[in-house]
């Protein structure tokens, strides 16, 4: 297992108290797996990505842990994490267009990063860098360029190369394609797959609100809703036979391939996601779910319905009945004061 996340909870400090943006989330990432992480904005998908690499001062780890290649990531220890960034965990940020410092040449930026990581043998990294640039069709003179001289697509690709240069075990790609046109989106997606195939990156999490992109690049897809995981399965299972009512609604509302649908309000399902300040107990999709019943006032477990297919929904668990192995997240027990009998 490349990455194991157990009961991860992440909160934002705010004046109305802590807001738990990610609530007791558990999932695993196999070696070589590209996992898509999808959900509406505010569902917590980017928060997971940030928590795994850099917690900004407003964020705090509220519980749980993450193991990378069997070793626990020191998520709240910034100094210890710094050494692991880029080398073990890396990020292609949402803001790739503006991520490159404007007043230094690309080559200089890379050199400074290598120096920060105390890498002695820079020639070796450099020749590897040149090989990768060639691979994706960029000339090595790009290293003497400034960010503003590059087109959006070039900047995006340079960012991916920089972030994966030291062969991290996990690459978090946050909305990498959202600012690009369709053909560039495809190229960037293929680049991720290529890099994975060549072993530049061991595994990746592609965070997006755009399911149609994930259909092209991801091996598995995880759907988030209001800070919790709703469903995780192979890409084929999610796109062709989704089980969670929320996933079904998402897939049904999916427009033509490649069309953006940020902040989708689900047509056909009235309402909006609950506030995370004082989230309701039980299933958070309950208010909007056409299949909700009394049981839904309790928090549904993220249960493995079939091998490799996990869903957090009482109705689905019932239908798929006794055979289901129910994994009870520890966090669910912690808040079981309000949701008695979760594990039944």
């Amino acid at each position: 297992m490349s990455l194991t996340v157990e009961n991860l909870s992440v909160a934002y400090r705010s004046r109305r108290g802590d807001i738990t943006a990610v609530d007791s989330v558990s999932f695993r990432l196999a070696d070589g797996e590209i996992m898509g992480l999808a959900g509406e904005s505010g569902s917590g998908k980017s928060t997971i990505g940030n928590a795994l690499i850099y917690m900004d001062p407003r964020m705090k780890l509220a519980g749980g842990k993450a193991l990378l290649d069997g070793k626990e990531l020191p998520l709240s220890d910034n100094d210890a994490m710094r050494k692991l960034r880029m080398t073990e965990v890396s990020l292609v940020p949402q803001y790739a267009m503006s991520a490159l410092p404007p007043t230094r040449r690309i080559g200089k930026i890379i050199a400074d990063l290598l120096k920060s990581h105390g890498i002695k043998d820079r020639d070796e990294v450099l020749s590897e860098l040149l090989r990768r640039l060639e691979l994706i069709g960029l000339k090595d003179e790009i290293l003497r360029r400034y960010a503003f001289e590059l087109s959006g697509g070039m900047r995006q690709r340079v960012t991916i190369i920089m972030s994966s240069l030291l062969n991290p075990s996990l690459l978090i790609a946050d909305e990498v394609t959202s600012a690009l046109d369709v053909s560039t989106q495809r190229a960037v997606g293929e680049m991720l797959i290529e890099f994975r195939d060549r072993g530049y990156i061991k595994s990746a999490i592609a965070i997006t609100h755009d399911l149609s992109i994930l259909a092209q690049i991801a091996d598995s897809i995880t759907i988030m809703y209001a800070g919790r995981l709703a469903e995780k399965a192979s890409t084929a299972a999610i796109t062709e036979a989704p089980l969670h009512p929320y996933t079904q609604a998402l897939i049904a509302s999916l427009p033509e391939v490649g069309v953006r649908h940020e902040d989708t309000t689900l047509t056909g399902i009235p309402g909006r996601p609950p506030s995370l300040v004082n989230p309701p107990s039980g299933c958070r999709f309950r208010e909007r779910c056409p299949f909700a019943f009394e049981k839904c006032t309790e928090t549904p477990p993220f249960a493995e319905i079939r091998p490799g297919h996990q869903v957090a929904c009482w109705k689905v668990s019932q239908e798929h009945g006794g055979g289901a192995r129910v994994t009870v997240p520890a966090g669910a027990i912690a808040d079981s004061a309000s949701t008695k009998g979760t594990g039944k």
Partner: protein, 330 residues
Amino acid sequence: MRRFLSRKLITYLIAFVIGVTVDWGIPRLIPGDPVQAYLSQFRLQPAGYDALYKTMSEAFGTNGSAWDQYMHYWQSILTWNMGVSIGNFPARVTTLIGQALPYTLALLIPAIVLSYILGNRLGAAAARRKGLDNSVLPLGYVFQAMPYPWLALIIPYLLAVVWHVFPLSGGYSNSLLPTWSWTFIGSLLTHWFLPFLTVFLVSLGGWAIGMRNLVIYELENDSSRYLRALGARERVIRRYAYRNASLPQLSGLALQLGVVVGGNIVTEIAFQYPGLGKLLYTAIGNKDYFLLQGIFIFIIIGVLIANFVIDLVFISIDPRTRLSMQGAPA
């Protein structure tokens, strides 16, 4: 780069034309006759008045059509013939400006350069250290808020009147004649220090606060976040932030020149320092319009030259201006 510079040069040219036009137009637009206003200071016989009025109007260029007057004015500026000072008759306006200029430059250039460099360093340090920030920030605001005339009064009050560390006013000691002796140079320096300190201090706070805010902002922007996410050391991230922040600070310097020049004038007057500011003040007192016009146009030229110098520095640190010729894709 060529495009950047040519744009700038056009702006300078237009500024110069507007400056000259304003300089020419103000005495003519404002109600009343400047020559008459000047002559009314004296008790003159009617015949003498008429003769003087005629001579002065010709010299001042207030006779003839507006267009002729305007062209005449341009001619006198381009030939650097700004006429004769009325108040310091028969000294030429250009001579008087030439005498005052070294004093003004000696105040302005060190004050601007040092306050800029030191202020930026201080601001960047304050952005790094909370403890330092707690004293730099409030002090910076106080210095920024101080009126030039006030600082130009309390500094000499403390350092010249209460404690006799520096001389109170003037450009050099009255008992000396300008010679290249060590005594005279020493006198120049001690007289120079307090007005310099005034102009320096008022600017210092602004640069420190500006740099502090910019660095803090830069440390939170996307490129810093990215460097942080890739595990760059905090020292490296700060270095990038400082470099990015230097650009707006430098364009701020160009924009601040006018204010500092104005402040310098006030300071010179308070210290009776024999620079352009004091000359301007004397010209106002004497209703010496030739001198007034000459100084105004000269200050405009000076500010334009300084802007040009800043542009050149800007080009050397901002790749965007340097490379905009190469037609890179946006």
